[in-house]
């Protein structure tokens, strides 16, 4: 009678979650397909003109920005909805009654979410390079990779917080969408930075983590910035991810701690029995 090893349990859980994802068309659409459609639309609309004050082609701006959107759709939007559905269906409660350690269940689910977010980013960048001649800079890839890890961790923590706060399955998609989509428009994800935008809008966006994810990741694909990205100050056109990562880490840690405190494993009880 040999106890299954923790590694085997974790891999099994990741595999199971990936399988469920492959069979969930809505989740797959919003993570993988929808951001690609947006890229096609924007690249067609703006052609290969240089847009905005960035002085880059539409695809060079939109491919990384929408890759971020795909990653956030997966780790925040999908994760919170999947988590609440599992809670309402009693999956979380049933899993707690099995020998699978709780943190292993959550770890498997988060790892699967991160894996799908990675796929969303890779597909987006490959399509960008292949169809629209997006340029990849090798020296900034480590910074882009670290940004991805911190960003996905941050939004997964916030996704768990939404799951903890959401009362039921019906409420979760509106909560997740209402918090994500408006930010997308002011966080340099759907619309490039514009000189004519009022300053206060920028200040609002600076407070939330999405703009920091988008800036830190997109900077890696900017032809005008210089440096590897591992810098604190962006003075003189330096590519600097560290201030952005700090903001995301703060949101991730704060949101994660709150989620742990508030998380429920069972639906709200209707009666006490």
């Amino acid at each position: 009678m040999k106890q299954p090893s923790l590694a085997r349990l974790l891999l099994g859980q990741i595999g199971l979650e990936n399988r469920i994802f492959r069979r969930s068309p809505t989740a797959a659409f919003f993570s993988l397909i929808f951001p690609l459609l947006m890229l096609l639309v924007f690249a067609t609309l703006f052609g290969n003109d240089r847009i905005g004050p960035l002085g880059v082609t539409a695809a060079q701006f939109y491919a990384p920005a929408l890759a971020v959107y795909g990653a956030v759709s997966t780790s925040y939007w999908n994760l919170s909805i999947h988590m609440v559905n599992s809670r309402e269906l009693g999956v979380l409660k049933r899993m707690r009654g099995t020998p699978l350690p709780t943190w292993m269940f959550l770890g498997g689910r988060l790892a699967s979410s991160a894996w799908i977010a990675l796929l969303a980013v890779l597909i987006m960048m490959v399509v960008g390079v292949w169809l629209y001649d997006v340029t990849i800079y090798v020296h900034t890839l480590p910074a882009a990779a670290l940004t991805f890890v911190v960003g996905v961790a941050c939004f997964a923590a916030l996704g768990c917080l939404v799951a903890a706060l959401s009362p039921n399955s019906n409420a979760t998609p509106p909560i997740a969408s209402a918090t994500l989509l408006p930010l997308g428009f002011i966080s340099e994800v759907f619309i490039p930075p514009s000189a004519s935008a009022p300053a206060w809008l920028g200040t609002v966006a600076d407070f939330f983590p999405l703009k920091h994810f988008a800036r830190a990741f997109s900077g890696a694909f900017s032809p005008t910035l210089h440096g590897s990205g591992f810098a604190w100050s962006d003075a003189g056109g330096t590519y600097a991810i560290l201030p952005h990562l700090a903001v995301m880490a703060a949101w991730g840690i704060g949101g994660g701690l709150l989620a742990v405190r508030l998380f429920r494993w069972e639906p709200r009880p209707e009666t006490v029995g």
């Binding site: 009678m1 085997r8 199971l16 969930s24 707690r96 009654g97 006490v272 029995g273």
Partner: protein, 299 residues
């Protein structure tokens, strides 16, 4: 050795007391049924034993471990069949069982188990396409897949058709012969009667009666219920007690000493050439005893 020992367990939800000092012991290899109306504290007690819920006072030992802290070591030895749900709709039956099997150190053969609960035809069907009864049977399989020593069955046959119910009963009897301990909650008295070695009735957060199906609530000492009609036009006033003075189309009474009461009744009828139409003598059913116990508690 006892599989479960519960001592003076208290559970409160805010100001509401769900369990007020429950104590009971379940022996290894026993099939124990917990009965009680909704809201009596049945689910609270079972969920404390399963480790799903904390208690406010008292001690609990499940297979010698405290379910609040037993963790993985305990959960490898118990199987839980919840009242509802917990299934991923997009997985197939065999994927669900096979995955759950990987969580346990020893697992039952998967296809054999699926056949045992009668789902072999549905092995490759997505869970979301199953009927309610088929889902319950899958949940039963998941509760058994780790070959547990102790099995919690929370209303295991709710929603089953009669033949599926009989099959489930056969399965529980088979588990019993393997020496498994089973804690069963049910609303069906015939189920408790058919399966349980012992029964406890819980009401208002307390155990109000405990015994075998035959002796619960002094069932074996209670008299039978006698029921008949008199179609002839005679005075019923001089019938022997406890029938005298009863009115209505059917005369019905619970008697203390069945033999003596029947002797007196038939003597009265023969002397007057009266036919006791549709005469039945029925010992109290488990349901009678149960309903009386619950009614006493409500009074």
């Amino acid at each position: 050795m006892a599989a479960i020992v519960v001592d003076k367990v208290v559970k409160r939800y805010g100001g509401v007391t769900a369990l007020s000092g429950v104590s009971l012991a379940i022996a290894e290899g026993e099939v124990f049924a917990l009965l009680g109306p909704n809201g009596a504290g049945k689910t609270s007690l079972v969920e404390i034993l399963e480790g799903h819920r904390d208690r406010d006072a008292g001690t609990v030992a499940v297979l010698g471990m405290d379910p609040a802290t037993g963790g993985r070591a305990l959960r490898e030895r118990i199987g839980i069949v919840l009242q509802e749900g917990g299934l991923e709709g997009e997985l197939t039956v065999i994927e669900t069982v096979r995955y759950t099997a990987t969580l346990f150190p020893k697992a039952r053969p998967i296809e054999e188990l699926i056949a045992l609960v009668g789902l072999q035809e549905k092995m490759r069907a997505r869970v979301r396409t199953l009927s309610g009864g088929q889902r319950r049977r899958l949940e039963l399989a998941l509760g058994l897949v780790g070959d547990p020593d102790l099995i919690f069955l929370d209303e295991p046959t709710t929603g089953f058709d009669p033949s599926a119910r009989r099959q489930a009963w056969e399965l529980v009897r088979a588990l019993r012969t393997f020496g498994k301990t089973i804690l069963l909650t049910t609303h069906y008295m015939d189920e408790a009667q058919a399966l349980a070695d012992r029964i406890a009735v819980i009401a208002h957060g307390r155990i109000v009666a405990e015994g075998t199906p035959a002796t619960l609530g002094d069932r074996h000492r209670r008299g039978a219920r006698v029921r008949f009609r008199v179609m002839t036009d005679v005075s019923l006033q001089d019938m022997p007690p406890p029938f005298a003075g009863k009115i209505g189309a059917w005369i019905e009474a619970e008697v203390k000493d069945t033999t003596a009461a029947l002797h007196a009744l038939t003597g009265w009828a023969v002397a007057r050439r009266v036919e006791l139409d549709g005469l039945t003598v029925v010992p109290p059913t488990l349901e009678d005893v149960y309903l009386d116990l619950i009614a006493e508690q409500a009074a």
